[in-house]
Symmetry: C2
Subunit: 247 residues, 2 copies
């Protein structure tokens, strides 16, 4: 069952250092076409992609993201937006009541459409010898991100995708044992502790090798530590303001 | 820039009729591995996959979905779940305050992780000669879906993915013109009407050819008509009950 697609998928690692080479217009167009080819709920295509090449804008997004250099230094940067604004405009032209677009169900659909599209772009990029890194931290100041990109209501910026020619070769990060993420017919609320312990050791080894022994965090330690980061509470009021997920 | 991955991505069409052949355990394991290889926010892997092969359960899900036969008749059926329950359990064991998991930010992250994984599985499946169809309508009775799958709190079932050997060869559904979905640096609130009109004609032609002339809906008509479906309002209280997206 081995094939070039499976190999591309299994070979994924996030790239956080890119060469100076920019993506060509043709590459960008192909990436967007691949993104669009993904499934979309009820054919609504409830997402938009914003390609950022303005240096000042990239710098601003870098600052918002907590100063991650690869937000600015990459071959291309794309922001994926859950988008019900287009659908709203189309409905209004036909004189249709568009209130349904403010539901949590429609927000969920738009999030899915945007994420399917983004993952297709990521896979396409990697097949072309490019590397990618998702940037969720454009939401660290979501109001400012939305203002910079001039996002109208009924839209929600989800994450950025930095794309470019890799200037590093990181190791693959080990994933959870199958038993701890895959369930058969019903959810197994009990964790498989033996598998999880082995996994913890595998992750500690990964960090040890990657940092030359400076870091040896297990996966469960990382999860537990992540719970102590201050909650980012601006998203709910932002969505409310954008008329999304109101009911 | 053509390669087998790009070809697989651009060749996507949803399959709604499968042969009787079931996926093998090896195929399922590979599909899950490919799903897991996708990016995950802060390495949290905030999703679970539930593989459904119990016939009674598949039948129930078929009924919930509005009696779509391919929910029951397929090679394999997978439900993708946004999952903060695992992280919560891990946090509790370390005596960490896990309240951050009830934020909209953490819910968004889990939705993204689950959707990236699902799209990887979809692409992997198509590369193996299988077809796929997302089933968002398992949310039509989300309480019952969650009860059937015994989902604990901090989890949210997003969609099913029906996978199997295609027993039909549908045409590719045309996607929005680039200009109406791709923006440069800032969001273009103005629709490109000329491109949209050509697209509407293209979609009407697609339906005409697919239905032998019985249907000729344009894309904007379909969007407008979709706005009149009754809103599905159970998602917000369900999420609240699951301790997700509360703030």
């Amino acid at each position: 069952m081995d094939n070039p697609v499976i190999r591309t998928l299994l070979n994924h690692r996030s790239i956080r250092k890119f060469t100076d080479q920019k993506l060509s217009e043709d590459q960008i167009e192909l990436l967007v076409k691949c993104a669009q080819a993904a499934s979309t709920s009820s054919y609504t295509q409830s997402f938009s992609i914003i390609g950022i090449d303005d240096p000042a804008l990239k710098k601003e997004l870098r600052i918002i993201s907590g100063d991650q250099p690869y937000v600015e230094a990459n071959g291309g940067f794309f922001v994926f937006v859950a988008d019900q604004y287009r659908n709203k405009k189309i409905g209004e032209r036909s004189g249709i009541d568009t209130r349904v677009l403010d539901t949590t169900q429609r927000l969920t659909v738009a999030l899915g459409d945007a994420a399917f599209a983004a993952q297709n772009m990521a896979v396409a990029a990697e097949s072309m010898g490019l590397g990618i890194c998702y940037i969720g931290s454009i939401q660290r100041d979501i109001e400012r991100t939305a203002a910079l990109l001039k996002l109208p209501d009924y839209t929600f910026p989800l994450f950025g995708l930095a794309v470019g020619y890799p200037d590093q070769e990181p190791e693959k990060k080990p994933r959870l044992p199958l038993k701890n993420i895959y369930h058969r017919n019903t959810y197994a609320a009990q964790l498989d502790d033996a598998a999880l312990e082995r996994y913890d050791q595998q992750v500690a080894d990964y960090y040890h090798s990657r940092t030359g022994g400076r870091r040896e965090e297990t996966w469960t330690e990382q999860i537990a530590n992540g719970l102590s980061t201050p909650p980012r509470l601006a998203l709910k009021p932002f969505l409310e303001k954008q008329h999304l997920g109101r009911r």
